[in-house]
Amino acid sequence: MKCELCNNKATVFYTQAVQGGQKKICLCENCADKSGLTDPGAFSMVDILMDETPEQAQPVMVAEVAEACEHCGFTLEDYRKVGRLGCSQCYTAFLGEILPMLAKMHHGIKHEGKVPSGMADSLALRKKLAAMKKDLDSAIAEENFEAAVKLRDGIKELEAQVS
């Protein structure tokens, strides 16, 4: 994927929620720095690059790139050297690095085709679980303990199902 301002390789990807959907910008590190995108305080460039006024001022970094995979210890540098990954969780850790290349090597970046049977359910469960854990955190932060207790019990139940 190429930078939208110059032709260098894009390494910074911003997605912003705008009315009725998302806006995405791909930039190289240089242009991102120059435009102030990497400085969370300054969003002037976002407004220039996006023709609609963003609803939310906070840009969301879609895919962060970690230095190393927490699960298996494989590093980003290793990946850049060998072009292969350490474990299935590396895809989460290095998604920002991998995603831009996928469009070039494949006919899309969204899987079509076989889904492991049973996996569809368990994936949905895992997603629900993650969402509930997030809700639990915010319930605790808001000191809404009644909701927190309900969520905690729900999570326990789901966790039992997943395992």
Binding site: H71, C72, F74, D78, V82, G83, R84, L85, G86, C87, S88, Q89, Y91, I98, M101, L102, M105, H106, H107, G108, I109, K110, H111, E112, G113, K114, V115, P116, S117, G118, M119, L123
Partner: protein, 371 residues
């Protein structure tokens, strides 16, 4: 495992141009380090988890299952020459295994680049059949093994080039007429342009021997198995038509040159005393084309396919029962070919001499008796 499988010699199937079809699926266990990154103990543990499940598959009854460290280099090489394991897998030892079914149509590599590489091969253009079998095996295994899978990226693989379906579909094509008529470059370029890969006999980085070319999909993500296979089938069918047309055109435009080429190949194979693989392959290739075009009796094409298998280095050494230096191999290779050629009838060649002998046709029978 003593003998090559039926698909290797194209028994009972039309494989004149499309010699074999192959499907490969890559799968990995969730959260475990991929084989290239895993420490030895982890690799062995992953193998111990997968191997019993693979061996317990119904289709693997009476199959062949060995850890790579148990196999002699020569045995590994024979498996590579039969396309049952990859060259990469052959280089591995402890913690990697190969499980092959009795009919040698299905092989599963444990701890190759991915935890599991499963492949199925069929003679002729039969990608769908191969895929059906593999998909069944895959579904049976996923009941016991949790494969790494992501909603967006599909099956997660060690190399991002295999993400999504994890499927590589390929066909081995025999295209001598396109090579001889110098159309092959154009055809291969067109194939590349539509995003398919062209490789030699043993995959990536290998050269084409005996006018054999492997064509496969590059992209694995963003399209379903069905879409990928359909496109490949269409392209292969087109190339097959081109090859067939090129053969017919040669027969029409230059029948004498064609007969000469086939006759020479037959003669050289029958009498030469030293052959390297490359030269032998190129002559057998012409014989194979001649067989498909009716120059030889039925069964000759299968004989050619057997020869191509038998004269590869590891098969030669298996035959000789000893390790051989390259020069010794060339001698034994020629020996085998000479003796095989004695069982083959000489080509039925019509020499057309319209221009020379006022319109009459002389049939030159090249049936010189062997001994």
């Amino acid at each position: 495992m003593k003998h090559p499988a039926d698909w290797m010699i194209g028994k009972n199937v039309n494989n004149e141009v499309v010699v074999t079809s192959r499907i490969r699926l890559a799968r990995n266990l969730r959260d475990l380090s991929f084989p290239g990154w895993a420490k030895k103990a982890e690799r062995v543990a992953a193998m111990d988890k997968m191997r019993p499940k693979v061996e317990a598959l119904k289709v693997m009854k009476n199959g062949f299952s060995h850890e790579l460290s148990e196999l002699e280099p020569l045995q590994k090489q024979v498996l590579v020459e039969r396309h049952l394991i990859s060259r990469e897998q052959a280089a591995r030892g402890q913690g990697s295994a190969a499980v092959v079914d009795r009919g040698q149509r299905l092989s599963l590599m444990i701890n190759e680049e991915d935890h599991l590489r499963m492949q199925s091969i069929r003679a002729g253009l039969r990608l769908r059949e191969a895929h059906q079998l593999l998909s069944k095996v895959d579904s049976a295994l996923e009941k016991d093994l949790e494969f790494a899978y992501d909603d967006e990226l599909g099956y997660l693989t060690a190399c991002p080039t295999n993400l999504g379906t994890g499927m590589r579909a390929s066909a081995m094509l025999h295209l001598p007429a396109l090579v001889l008529t110098e159309q092959i470059g154009q055809v291969l370029q067109a194939v590349n342009k539509i995003g398919l890969a062209v490789r030699g006999l043993f995959g990536e980085g290998t050269e084409s021997l005996g006018h054999l070319f492997q064509i496969s999909n590059q992209a694995t993500l963003g399209e379903s198995e069905e879409v990928i296979i359909s496109r490949l089938e269409r392209v292969i069918a087109q190339i097959e038509t081109h090859e067939t047309n090129a053969r017919l055109k040669m027969l029409e435009d230059e029948p004498n040159q064609l007969s000469d080429k086939i006759g020479r190949a037959y003669g050289i194979l029958g009498y030469a005393t030293m052959f390297d693989s490359k030269e032998a392959f190129s002559h057998i290739s012409l014989l194979r084309m001649g067989a498909a075009m009716g120059y030889f009796p039925e069964g000759t094409m299968q004989a050619c396919d057997s020869m191509m298998m038998e004269i590869q280095p590891a098969h030669l050494q298996l035959h000789a029962g000893a390790e051989l230096e390259p020069e010794e191999r060339d001698i034994i290779r020629a020996e085998i070919l000479r003796s095989r050629l004695q069982t083959l009838t000489a080509p039925a060649i019509n020499i057309i001499t319209n221009d020379i002998v006022g319109g009459s046709e002389i049939t030159g029978d090249l049936n010189f008796e062997n001994e």
